[in-house]
Symmetry: C2
Subunit: 197 residues, 2 copies
Amino acid sequence: MAKMSKKQAILELATVLFADKGFTKTSMTEVAKLAGIAGATIFYHYKTKEELFVAVIESVKVGVLQEYCASFKDCNEKFPNGLEMLLAAVSFHLHLADSKKQWFLLLRHHFTHELAAVNRDCRRHLAEIYECLIKIFEKALAMGIEDGSVRQLSPRKTALIILAMVDGIEQLENNRLYDASALYGELLVSCRHMIQQ
Amino acid sequence: MAKMSKKQAILELATVLFADKGFTKTSMTEVAKLAGIAGATIFYHYKTKEELFVAVIESVKVGVLQEYCASFKDCNEKFPNGLEMLLAAVSFHLHLADSKKQWFLLLRHHFTHELAAVNRDCRRHLAEIYECLIKIFEKALAMGIEDGSVRQLSPRKTALIILAMVDGIEQLENNRLYDASALYGELLVSCRHMIQQ
DNA sequence: GTACTAACTGATTACTCAGTCAGTTTTATA
DNA sequence: TATAAAACTGACTGAGTAATCAGTTAGTAC
């Protein structure tokens, strides 16, 4: 195992636990125990539990922005048209939500949005994350309208709808009542019909 | 205020609090205080906090099933074709999610699905609720394929996708980052494109 | 009125948790 | 090696928690 600072260990374990069990049911003692440090050490690095949570959200933001920047820079050249770019973006989102389940679990937790309502920093991070997710779709749709592969629609509104749809599918997956991964193919077909000329 | 049994009062207040603050952050003392009864009274009617929660979920199930039965019986006659029926069902879902926010908040809480994984009754109620929501969409789609208003697609899978989409929109609404109600019109148009012939 | 039951309660228990604090260890620097 | 700062810790506190229980009240049948 790579050596890392205790502060970093706290952040990473808190990410796992907050995502898995939620804010309230995760105890600072538990984070400390898993990190192999004294309980009080967490409070040396993070003044309160809430501050730790916001730090976790910030790290998710950094991660999401990195992933998307890496995969969608020079996107104008990479795709034949806007329609194909949008479908690629949806695929990428599904793939990322699978490989980084924790991030998206955290974003969906009720507490995250409750906190965002009263905590500036949390709200800012959340807004930046969502803006990044939406912008990719929006850009693809605008491109598609330009190049004729996408019908006349509001890129912004439709981007929000597609985000909601993809997010809804992931939620379904987490709920375990239905096998959402069996829907990925159908989802892409549906998206295509939804936006194509 | 209408007279009601204390048991009923407990159930209704618990519904509000569980929906609003989640399971963990709602204390039995708080429910009792709001109901104007002694804390121990709750444990006379419901053995544990978990049992109370399951009772709340059950009451949501009863509510959802009633609402949908009332609005979608004789649905074969009420709509010109399957496509229009599906759009009506989507509209109805959006409307219900607005007028009965608590129900859908409860269904989305992480804890609800955690509990469903280990509690038979909770799982059964949840499954019945979702099955009801999906069946309406599925029936409309199957009708639409029959009457030619809907393209060839898997009614079941597409019903799940549409449910996920609608649910995602409502989630967006609750997150308060975006005004999802401004998307309702666009959502219906998107659905139409998605499934029409 | 009496007897019986269901509904209800106040006081208490055993426990968990976020956060504090005084003091110790580690690290960096001179 | 001496000194100061940063990192870390064990022991503790006070507030809040679900659940229990012995006992009280309200309702009903006769």
